[in-house]
Every structure is written in structure tokens, then in C-alpha cells.
């Protein structure tokens, strides 16, 4: 049976010695760890760090529910090996609000009702926030283009685009 880790270890210990990952930096803090570097980042976040806001949807980078930021760039955490991001700045949905103050895009998702079941929302917001960071005033076409690869099975796409657009229109650039 293939696994969620897709490929799975198939063995308790790797045959060749690999340097285990001793820490990762998530949401501005260093978390001590002792994991196989080939472990997908998603499961380290969820099972080792208890950060369950990044969701498993497909395990192969096709749905976007697991999206986190690595040095500010959206990445699918289910297909990144944790060893590849050790020492880099990882931001998850849990780290987006600052001092209890929601990120403008989180606020916009609430205001625009841009979620139904909410399972895709974390990934949508992470990619959307990165998009706005890079391009503070994106066109609708650009938003759609950049959000491709995020699946919302409830079909809230129009509201998600509207939420991203509303931040572009209303929030001063320095607050994004």
C-alpha cells in the first residue's frame, strides 16, 4: 500500500546513514527536532510540532491545502523534504496573525465569506498573502493565474478572488 508519505520509508531505519534534522525555524521560532530529513515537511509540522493548520489534501502537491511559505515563497509542504528547508524561514497559517491581529487577508476572508468548509483556506491565504507581498495591486487575471493549483472543492473561488482583491484595494501597502 502506498503511503501518504508517497513512497514511504518501507523500513524503520534508512539503510544509508542520513543526517537527521535537529531543528527547523517555523513562524520565527526554532523548534528542536530529531527526524529523518526525507520526511515531508507537512507531517513534521502536523505531527511533531502540532501545527495542524496546514492540511493534507492529496500528498502530491496538487491541491494546495498544505501550502506554507518558505522564505516568503509559497511551497507545497507535503512534497518538500524537511531536510531541504532546515535553516530557512518557514511561515504557516498559525504564524500569519501578528500579536493577535489578523493579517489583512485573513480579515478579508472573513469579511468576504471566502470559505465554506475552510479546509483549503489555510493554503489559499498563504499563497494569497505571498502574492500580495510580491504584487500589492494585482489584476484579477493575475490573481487567478497565481492561485492556480489551489483546489476549493466547495467552489468558493469567486469570493476568494474577491477577498484577495479587496486587500489590494483597501489596505495600505506597508500593512500587508
Amino acid at each position: 500500500m502506498k503511503s501518504r508519505l508517497d513512497g514511504g520509508t518501507g523500513e524503520a531505519e534508512p539503510t544509508t546513514s542520513v543526517r537527521r534534522v535537529a531543528a527547523i525555524n517555523v513562524n520565527g521560532a526554532d523548534f528542536p527536532l530529531d527526524v529523518d530529513p526525507r520526511q515531508p515537511l507537512l507531517w513534521v509540522l502536523r505531527d511533531n510540532l502540532g501545527l495542524t493548520g496546514s492540511h493534507y489534501g492529496c500528498g502530491e502537491g496538487q491541491c494546495g491545502a498544505c501550502t506554507v511559505l518558505v522564505d516568503g515563497t509559497p511551497r507545497r509542504s507535503c512534497i518538500i523534504a524537511v531536510g531541504d528547508v532546515a535553516g530557512r524561514a518557514i511561515t504557516t497559517i498559525e504564524g500569519l496573525a501578528q500579536n493577535g491581529r489578523l493579517h489583512p487577508l485573513q480579515q478579508a476572508f472573513l469579511q468576504q465569506d471566502a470559505l465554506e468548509c475552510g479546509y483549503c483556506t489555510s493554503g489559499m491565504i498563504m499563497s494569497g498573502a505571498a502574492l500580495l507581498q510580491r504584487d500589492p495591486n494585482p489584476s484579477r487575471r493575475e490573481i487567478v493565474r497565481r492561485m492556480v493549483g489551489h483546489i476549493c472543492r466547495c467552489g468558493v473561488y469567486q469570493r476568494i478572488v474577491a477577498a484577495i482583491q479587496s486587500v489590494a484595494e483597501t489596505v495600505p501597502e506597508k500593512e500587508r
Binding site: H55, G61, L96, E116, Y119
Partner: protein
């Protein structure tokens, strides 16, 4: 549409169409019913005001509340709304939240009747130990039915609060007004909040489902835009979906999937898995599963199992529709269809006299619901019995499945449904709950099972495929003078509710199997191929059902229409 002498019976009323349950939704009454015990109510809930709803015998009321025969009073009632001694309002409903936002809309309905702000009401949903029985959340019935039930209990609670205030203030209730969580006498400015009215009380009110409610034209909260209840937790990643829930000492469970539907185990060797540290292996009939402290440990244990399955030849996409057509038998035509008692005339004769006939065939593929959150369950056993948190649209149905699977009385099984990452009416059954519970029982520790996307695409419940053959006859001018004849042929996969399998038919030609096999990162080792289960080849349920809808009348012209 019809002449003066024409019976209007040709047209079915459309206001409240009957909901056709799928076969797996038809179930026996729960085996146990319990009368409401007043002392027990307040022991569990604490003092205050509790409102129970006594559902009448009409078919819609039966949808929620325990099923009873038409005209028969339900045998039990349960508490739907409670205002505690501090004035906090809690509402209990068996409906569940899968993204349709009913936690918000039902809260609005209660707030409307209780005249309180939206944040003053807490909804307990889908917890079989705490909420009134409910058949399930499907068929778009929450708003027309559950919302109405909750309005009635909230209206009754409001009336009770008014009565208490009248007594306490010695002012006639008609001069009092409930608003913003207070009962006030505007003339004197005197006012009492809910807690001041419920403190030290134990009032149990039973209301019927004809309790008067606020006219829709006077609604101020329902139908308005309010923030999603608990919305902040969803946009900050704090909400715990079933697949996020953990328990102390929890193990991760994995289940060995057969190579095809309806396979039987021919040979199995679990010794390698059993030799692994901290791994629990269960081999019980055709169920084979493992549990381990880490997910990768469970996956490694599963991968070490050497199993050989024997399966029957199965149909692929190309043969599917021919298979359905040939397998549909008279015997299998029974279930599910709407029958009409007002058919008159002869179809055969109608076709003989037809000036124009039209025939068409429609093929409907198997459809995956693809809930973005796959099936997930976390099970734990204690001295009282079994508790499972799982994403299901039918918590009570899953409770029945678990009780039957483990030979337990239903009172010893509790199913809790955390707000779930969608379902699309595909999450009705409890296979994941049964799997987690079986592994947890063997391990003596809580076990969580979360299906992979591959499992969803190969073992989850699919929307049945079907072939629809339609034949219609008409006069040359297009009038449906001879009756139309509609013959439909669809398969009705039987739910194997208590077996560890599901009536899935995924075709190797449509499921991108190579996708699933792709390693995510270079260097991430692949499973040994010997233990890698192949996705099942297309498999078809053995039963088919053919229904024939007839409409019109050979003796009256012009005929009406039919929907199917």
C-alpha cells in the same frame, strides 16, 4: 395543462418533494429509546431552563427526531435547548457542519426567537451523547426542517423567560419585552437578564412542533449577513478538523487494502510487521491493519505485510454500461423509485399509436465526491465503551454501525463529529470509524485513521454509475397524446456497512495510478513493490436496479408530464 374534467392528479405537488434516501440511508429504528428523565436532564446539564421538542407524526418531523410510523407519537423526546443558571444558551442538534454554514444559520434562527445577539448562543452539533437523534445531514433539509425545529424550541424558551420575569417583576407578561438577552419592562425601565431569571431554577418545558414562531416578515437576524460562527479559527488554522484531532498516547492506524473490490485474502504474512517495535497488528477476517506511534512507522509496518488477494474478474469502463444493462433484472428493480398510483392506460398501446417516437440513452459515470479532507476517525475505548470522533454526515448512523460491528449496545458508543472538511453527501458511512475502533481495541490506546487521497479515489463511496434509456412517444404535432415511457437502468451498489470494504468502482483507466506512485522528493525511497497494493481494477456492484417511470394517461388528452 388540463381540461376542466381532467383530474389534477397528474401533477405531483412540488412544494415539499419527498426525499429519496439512498439505500444506505434506510435503516432500522435505533434499538434503544429512552424517555426523558427530568432529574437526569438537570444532573447532566445543570439547572436553568431546558426545552424538549415533541415531534409530531408527519413525515418531515420524522426526518429529525426518531422515526415513528405516521400518526404515531414519537417515543422519546430530548433536550434541544438549555439556558443555564448564568443565562448562557446552548442548543443541541444532530445536524453537522461540513461547510454549508449551518452552524451560523441555525444560530441565527435561535437568536431570532430568543432575541439575543449571535455570539450569545452555542451550538452543540453531531454528538450522539448530547444531541437529539437525527438521521443525518443531507438532502438540503437543515434549513426547512431543523431551522424550524430550533425556532420552536427557542420561541418556547422565550415564552418561559417572559413568564418567569412576569412572576418576578409582578408585571403582566404582555407588558414585557425580550431583547438583547434581557427581559425588560420599558415603562418602568426595570430589566432582568437571562441569568437572573434562570438562577436556582429547574424548568423542563416540552413543546410540540406547532409552537408559534416569529413571522418571517419580522425577522431581523435570519436572512441577514452575519460573520461565520467561529470563523476566526478557520482563517488562523486553529480549527481542529477530524484529521487534526489528537489524544494522549494516540497511535496512527493504516489499513491494508485489497487489490480489487470483493477480494478475499488468499495468503498473508504479517510476521515482519509484528516484529516491529511498538507496532500493533490486527488480522481479523479480511481486515488487516496496523497501528504505530508515528505515521511513518505505521506505513512501514503496513508495507512489510506480504499479502495475496483473490478477486473475481471485474468490468472496466468500456464494459460498464453494457454490464449494467444486462445485469439489471426485474428482481433488482425494487428500491428507491417514486411510485405513482395514478397511472392509467397502456404504454404499449400508446407506443403503437404514436406518430413520433424518440429514444435516447444517457450514460453516467461513477463520480467521486472528493471531499478535500479525506475520511478520518479517531477512536478510543474506556470502561464505558467506545468514543469515535469522525467526519460523517450521519453520526447516529455511524453509531449504529459501530454498535453492530463491535456487538455493543448503542448507549456504549459515542460518535462526535467535529466540523469537517466537506462531504458533499459522500461521507455517510462509517468505515473509517470502524477501522480506527478495531485498531484501538487491539492496541489498547486511541488510534487515528486518516485516509489517503488514493484511498478516497479507490475505496470511498462513489456516486453510482448508471445507464438511462429513455423512450418517448408523441403525436406528430409534438403533443404527448400517447403517454411517454421512461425506462431507467441504474446500479444501486449495496453498502457493505459492516465490512471493511466499500462499493467502489474506480477504473484503472481513469485513476492516474502513476501519479499516486510518484515519489515526492528525490531520495525518498519507494515502497517495496511486493507489498504495494495495486489500485483496484474497475469493479461493479453485483446488484442493479431498473426503474420504470410512467406518466400520462391513454384515456385523457393531453397528458401531463413526469419528472424523474
Amino acid at each position: 395543462m388540463s381540461g376542466p374534467t381532467q383530474r389534477p392528479a397528474e401533477v405531483e405537488p412540488i412544494a415539499t418533494p419527498p426525499v429519496e434516501p439512498e439505500r444506505y440511508e434506510l435503516e432500522e429504528r435505533p434499538t434503544h429509546t429512552f424517555a426523558l428523565d427530568r432529574r437526569e436532564v438537570f444532573r447532566v446539564l445543570g439547572g436553568g431552563i431546558a426545552v424538549a421538542l415533541l415531534l409530531g407524526g408527519d413525515s418531515h418531523a420524522q426526518e429529525s427526531g426518531r422515526a415513528g410510523r405516521r400518526g404515531e407519537l414519537p417515543r422519546d423526546v430530548a433536550v434541544w435547548l438549555h439556558i443555564d443558571e448564568a443565562g448562557a444558551v446552548t442548543v443541541y442538534t444532530g445536524k453537522v457542519e461540513v461547510g454549508q454554514n449551518i452552524r451560523t444559520s441555525l444560530t441565527q434562527a435561535v437568536c431570532e426567537e430568543l432575541r439575543v445577539p449571535a455570539d450569545a448562543v452555542r451550538l452543540v452539533m453531531g454528538d450522539t451523547d448530547r444531541v437529539p437523534y437525527d438521521r443525518g445531514t443531507f438532502g438540503s433539509l437543515t434549513t426547512p426542517i431543523m431551522s424550524s425545529h430550533l425556532r420552536r424550541v427557542a420561541a418556547a424558551a422565550r415564552a418561559t423567560l417572559l413568564g418567569l420575569a412576569a412572576e418576578q417583576l409582578k408585571i403582566d407578561a404582555t407588558n414585557l419585552e425580550v431583547s438583547a438577552g434581557h427581559v425588560a419592562h420599558n415603562a418602568s425601565g426595570r430589566s432582568l437578564d437571562f441569568g437572573e431569571l434562570t438562577g436556582g431554577r429547574e424548568i423542563l418545558r416540552t413543546v410540540r412542533d406547532d409552537e408559534a414562531v416569529t413571522e418571517p416578515t419580522r425577522w431581523t437576524i435570519s436572512g441577514t449577513r452575519v460573520p461565520k460562527v467561529g470563523g476566526r479559527a478557520f482563517v488562523t488554522g486553529q480549527h481542529l478538523y477530524p484529521s487534526d484531532v489528537t489524544l494522549p498516547d494516540m497511535l496512527h492506524g493504516k489499513v491494508l487494502r485489497p487489490t480489487a473490490l470483493n477480494s478475499t485474502l488468499k495468503r498473508i504474512d504479517v510476521s515482519a510487521a509484528e516484529a516491529m517495535t511498538d507496532v500493533t497488528v490486527v488480522h481479523d477476517g479480511d481486515f488487516v491493519g496496523v497501528a504505530a506511534p508515528t505515521l511513518s512507522g505505521a506505513e512501514a509496518a503496513l508495507a512489510s505485510i506480504d499479502a495475496e488477494w483473490s478477486s473475481l474478474p471485474q468490468q472496466g469502463d468500456r464494459e460498464l454500461f453494457d454490464y449494467l444493462r444486462t445485469q439489471a433484472t426485474e428482481e433488482s428493480q425494487g428500491g428507491g423509485g417514486r411510485s405513482r398510483s395514478d397511472v392509467a392506460g397502456s404504454l404499449e398501446q400508446g407506443f403503437e399509436n404514436a406518430e413520433v417516437t424518440v429514444e435516447a440513452t444517457y450514460e453516467v459515470a461513477y463520480i467521486q465526491h472528493v471531499p478535500l479532507e479525506p475520511r478520518a476517525a479517531i477512536a478510543s475505548w474506556d470502561e464505558h465503551g467506545l468514543t469515535v470522533q469522525t467526519g460523517t454526515q450521519r453520526p447516529f448512523g455511524v453509531r449504529t454501525e459501530l454498535a453492530e460491528a463491535f456487538r455493543l449496545p448503542e448507549v456504549r458508543v459515542r460518535v462526535i463529529m467535529p466540523d469537517t472538511g466537506s462531504g458533499y453527501s459522500g461521507k455517510h458511512t462509517g468505515e473509517t470509524a470502524v477501522e480506527a475502533a478495531r485498531l484501538a481495541r487491539a492496541a489498547g490506546r486511541p488510534v487515528r485513521v486518516v485516509w489517503t487521497r488514493e484511498e478516497e479515489f479507490t475505496w470511498a463511496y462513489f456516486r453510482p454509475a448508471g445507464v438511462i434509456d429513455v423512450r418517448a412517444a408523441a403525436a406528430a404535432d409534438g403533443a404527448l397524446r400517447p403517454p411517454g415511457s421512461f425506462t431507467t437502468t441504474t446500479p444501486a451498489p449495496p453498502p457493505s456497512r459492516l465490512r471493511i470494504r466499500s462499493p467502489t468502482a474506480a477504473s484503472t483507466s481513469t485513476v492516474p495510478t502513476t501519479r499516486f506512485g510518484r515519489a515526492p522528493t528525490a531520495g525518498w525511497p519507494r515502497l517495496p513493490t511486493s507489498s504495494r497494493a495495486k489500485p483496484p481494477s474497475t469493479s461493479l456492484p453485483p446488484h442493479s436496479v431498473s426503474t420504470r417511470c410512467r406518466c400520462g394517461s391513454a384515456t385523457s388528452m393531453p397528458a401531463g408530464f413526469a419528472t424523474f
